[in-house]
C-alpha cells in the first residue's frame, strides 16, 4: 500500500478534538519515581503552566484515546544482516502490543525517505511492509523524522513516534534545527532508539526533550526488541492532560511547564507548542 496523506483536515496542529467533546491542548505526561512510572495521580495533583500561566487541566482516560504508533526506521545499508532481522522483530513486538483501537504507520529512510504505510488499523499490512524492508544507501535521519512528524499534524489521537537508527545523519536536506521547529507544530512524543552516542545522537536528544520523549541508547541490535517493548509500556503509562488555554494569546510559541508539586517525582512532557493563530486551513 502506498502512503496517502489526506488533505481533508479535521483538526489543526495542537488544537484537536478529544473524545468528541473537548477542544483544547493535549499534553502527554510521563511521571516517574525511581525509574518506575507513577500511576493513580489526579488532575488536582498536576500543575501545568502555559507561558507561565497556570491552567486548569483534566486527565483523559488514556484508554479512550487510541495510540497512533509511527515507526520511523533507518533502512540504510548498514543494517544489512542481523540488524535488519532484529529491527523487524522489534517492530513486530511493538505492533503486538497495540490494541484493536490503535493504529500504526511506517516511514523508512535511507538517503531517500519512503512513507511506506500510512496510518492504518490494518496492522498486518504494516507487519508485511516491515518484513520487506530492504537495506540500501546512506542515512537521512532528520528528513525521515520530519516526514513522520508532519504526518501527525492533521490527525487526531495520541502519536508515539519511534525513531530507530544505527548511525549518524549523513544525507538529510533538513537541518536538526528545522526538524526541531517542525516538532513544535506536530503532536507526537518522539522516542529514539540508537546505537550512536555523543554528538551523533544529539539531534535525537533535542527532539526527545522538545516532545517529552526519550533516547534509548543500546549497544547492539539484539537490544532493539526490549527497547521497543519498553517504549510502548512507558507510553501507555503516561497521563493525557488536556486544557483550554486561558490567559494566554493563542499564537506563537507556548512554553509548557508541567509539575507534580507534592511528590518527589520526575515529570516529562513536551517543552511547548506553537499556537495556531493565523494558520491557513484548507
Amino acid at each position: 500500500m502506498v502512503w496517502r496523506l489526506t488533505l481533508v483536515l479535521t483538526s489543526v496542529l495542537v488544537l484537536q478534538t478529544f473524545s468528541s467533546r473537548t477542544l483544547g491542548v493535549r499534553v502527554d505526561v510521563l511521571v516517574m519515581d525511581g525509574g518506575k512510572p507513577v500511576a493513580g495521580l489526579t488532575a488536582r495533583e498536576f500543575e501545568l503552566r502555559d507561558n507561565g500561566v497556570l491552567q486548569r487541566v483534566e486527565i483523559l482516560d488514556a484508554m479512550d484515546v487510541p495510540i497512533n504508533a509511527v515507526l520511523t526506521l533507518d533502512t540504510s545499508a548498514s543494517i544489512e544482516g542481523r540488524p535488519r532481522l532484529d529491527l523487524i522483530a522489534a517492530g513486530e513486538a511493538l505492533l503486538d502490543r497495540l490494541k484493536p483501537i490503535d493504529r500504526a504507520s511506517l516511514v523508512t529512510f535511507d538517503h531517500a525517505v519512503t512513507p511506506a504505510i500510512a496510518l492504518t488499523d490494518d496492522l498486518p499490512a504494516v507487519r508485511n511492509a516491515l518484513r520487506n524492508i530492504n537495506p540500501n544507501g546512506r542515512t537521512s535521519v532528520m528528513d525521515g523524522v520530519y516526514v513522520a512528524l508532519t504526518s501527525t499534524v492533521d490527525q487526531p489521537g495520541r502519536f508515539l513516534l519511534v525513531v530507530c537508527t544505527d548511525g549518524a545523519d549523513t544525507m538529510s536536506w533538513l537541518r536538526p534545527s528545522e526538524v526541531l521547529e517542525a516538532s513544535k507544530r506536530a503532536n507526537a512524543v518522539v522516542y529514539s532508539v540508537t546505537t550512536s552516542d555523543g554528538r551523533r545522537s544529539e539531534p535525537l536528544k533535542h527532539l526527545a526533550d522538545a516532545t517529552g520523549g526519550q533516547v534509548l541508547q543500546i549497544s547492539s541490535s539484539r537490544d532493539l526488541r526490549s527497547a521497543f517493548e519498553r517504549i510502548v509500556a512507558e507510553f501507555r503509562s503516561r497521563y493525557v492532560l488536556t486544557y483550554s488555554p486561558e490567559g494566554v494569546a493563542p499564537g506563537g510559541f507556548h512554553r509548557l511547564e508541567v509539575a507534580v508539586p507534592k511528590r518527589r517525582v520526575t515529570v516529562k512532557a513536551r517543552a511547548g507548542y506553537v499556537g495556531v493563530e493565523g494558520a491557513r486551513r484548507p
Partner: protein
C-alpha cells in the same frame, strides 16, 4: 551515480608512508620497463580498455621502481637537457628518449602518457590487480592536528609518483570501514603534465589549456566515484600549477566543501578514529569550509560569471552565518537564469537562505522553482513542505509529502550527488579530452 551512493565504500584521507628513492643506475630491467611503457603510450587508443591499459594496470610496485629508474633519465632527454651516458643501459634509455623527441614529439607523448594512466585508473576494474609487492610502509610520522586528533604527515611531493606507497582510509556512510592503497596513476599523470607545462610552447596551442581540461575531467571522475582521498592532492596540485584556471579553482573549492559535509564530518565521531595510531586526515568543518570559501572567491575573482561558484559560495556563507552576503551571491546566480542541475541547486540554496531569514513565502517560491526543474527531488519537496509549515500553511506543507509518497523514483534528486562534488558529466569531459589526444 545512484550506484555510487549504494556502493560499499568511499574514500577519504591519506595515511602517508614513504619509501627511499631507488638507486639511479640503469639496469636491463629498467631499460626494458621503459621500452614497454613507451610502447604502451604509443599503442593506446584514448578511452579504450586496450592492451596498453592491461599493461598499465598490471604494473606492480617492483615494476614501477624499474620504470622510475629509467624514467628520470628519459625525461631529462625529453626536456632536451645535456646528459652523459655512463653505461650501455644509459645509452639504451637515451636512444629511446631521442626517438620519442623526434616522433611524436615531447608534448604529444606527454599528453598521451597522461591519458594512458588516467584511462588505466578508469578501466582498472576490468583487469586483475597486480600483486602488492611494495615494502611495508615506514613508521607513520605522528603529529597532533589542531582538532586534537592523532594524525600523520600527509604525502609530500618529495615522493616520486611512481614510488607512491600510501594507505588511504575507506568510509561508508560516515563509518570507517578499512583502508586500501592510494592510486599512483593519477599522481604520475600529473607529474607528466608538470613536465609538459615547462616545455617550450610549440605551435598555437598552449599546454595549459589541455592540462586545465585534464584536471577538470579527472576531478569530475574522482568526485563521481567518491574518491576524495585521491582528489585532494589532485586539486591542490592543480591549483598550484594553474592558479588562474577557474575550473581548477572551483573544483578545489568543491573538494574542500565536500569534506565539510556531514557524510565526512561524522567520521570524527567514529570511536575508531580516537584509537591510538589512527588518524583522521580529515580537516574540521571550519577549516575545510574556510578553504572552500577562499577557493570560490578566487574562482569568482578570475571569472565573475561563474554561476556555480556563486551558488556554492552562497551555501557556505549561509552555513557560516553570513546571510546578507549569501543572499547577494545567490541573487547574482539566479540573475543568470541557470538551468539543469546548477539551476536546481541555485533555487534550493535560495530557498534555504530565504528560510533562514524567516521569509517562508519566498523560500516556498524558490523550492517550487527547483521542483519545476526536478519534480521528484526529495530535497526540494521537503524544503517546500517545511517552508509552508513554518508559514502556517498546512495544506501547502502536506502537499509535497503526498508527492513524496507517490514518488516511485526516490533517487531522482540531483542534490544527493551534486552536493558531493559529483553530478557533472565526467564522461563527457573525459570524451572531450580523449578527442583532443586522438587528433594528434
Amino acid at each position: 551515480m545512484n550506484g555510487r551512493r549504494c556502493q560499499v565504500v568511499t574514500l577519504i584521507a591519506v595515511v602517508a608512508a614513504t619509501v627511499p628513492l631507488a638507486a639511479q643506475r640503469q639496469t636491463v630491467e629498467s631499460a626494458a620497463a621503459l621500452e614497454r611503457w613507451v610502447a604502451a603510450v604509443d599503442g593506446h587508443t584514448p578511452g579504450k580498455p586496450d592492451a596498453s591499459i592491461e599493461y598499465a594496470t598490471s604494473i606492480a610496485y617492483s615494476g614501477r621502481v624499474d620504470l622510475h629508474t629509467a624514467y628520470l633519465l628519459f625525461i631529462r632527454v625529453l626536456r632536451d637537457e645535456t646528459v652523459v651516458a655512463r653505461s650501455d643501459m644509459d645509452t639504451n634509455v637515451i636512444e629511446q628518449a631521442r626517438k620519442v623527441r623526434t616522433n611524436p614529439g615531447p608534448a604529444a607523448f606527454l599528453k598521451r602518457a597522461a591519458v594512458l594512466h588516467t584511462d588505466a585508473l578508469i578501466f582498472a576494474d576490468r583487469f586483475p590487480a597486480p600483486k602488492d609487492d611494495a615494502p611495508a610502509p615506514l613508521p607513520r610520522v605522528v603529529r597532533e592536528t589542531v582538532d586534537g586528533f592523532t594524525s600523520v604527515a600527509r604525502r609530500t611531493d618529495a615522493v616520486p609518483p611512481l614510488l607512491l606507497n600510501e594507505w588511504i582510509t575507506l568510509t561508508r556512510d560516515g563509518e570507517l570501514v578499512g583502508s586500501t592503497k592510494a592510486d599512483w596513476k593519477i599522481p604520475f599523470a600529473r607529474s607528466l603534465l608538470d613536465v609538459l607545462l615547462r616545455l617550450p610552447v610549440e605551435g598555437s596551442e598552449k599546454p595549459a589549456a589541455f592540462v586545465g581540461e585534464w584536471y577538470h575531467a579527472v576531478a569530475a571522475f574522482l568526485f563521481a566515484r567518491g574518491d576524495f582521498a585521491d582528489a585532494g592532492p589532485h586539486l591542490e596540485h592543480g591549483a598550484r600549477v594553474l592558479p588562474d584556471n577557474p575550473h581548477v579553482l572551483f573544483d578545489l573549492g568543491t573538494g574542500a566543501e565536500t569534506y565539510g559535509l556531514p557524510v565526512y564530518q561524522v567520521v570524527f565521531d567514529d570511536p575508531a578514529v580516537r584509537k591510538p595510531g589512527m588518524r583522521a586526515g580529515l580537516p574540521s568543518e571550519n577549516k575545510t569550509n574556510a578553504d572552500a570559501e577562499r577557493a570560490y572567491r578566487r574562482t569568482i575573482a578570475v571569472d565573475p560569471a561563474y554561476v556555480e561558484a556563486h551558488v556554492r559560495l552562497a551555501r557556505l556563507l549561509e552555513r557560516r552565518g553570513q546571510i546578507d552576503e549569501a543572499a547577494s551571491h545567490i541573487d547574482s546566480a539566479l540573475a543568470a537564469k541557470p538551468t539543469g542541475v546548477p539551476g536546481f541547486y541555485a533555487y534550493l540554496i535560495a530557498g534555504r537562505i530565504a528560510s533562514t531569514r524567516g521569509r517562508f513565502d519566498e523560500a516556498l517560491h524558490h523550492y517550487r522553482s527547483a521542483l519545476g526543474l526536478y519534480a521528484h527531488a526529495q530535497s526540494a519537496l521537503l524544503g517546500a513542505s517545511h517552508a509552508a509549515l513554518m508559514g502556517a500553511d498546512l495544506p501547502a506543507a502536506l502537499k509535497p509529502l503526498v508527492q513524496l509518497a507517490r514518488d516511485e523514483t526516490p533517487d531522482a534528486d540531483p542534490w544527493l550527488d551534486y552536493q558531493l562534488g559529483a553530478g557533472r558529466d565526467s564522461t563527457a569531459l573525459l570524451e572531450a579530452l580523449w578527442r583532443r589526444v586522438a587528433r594528434r
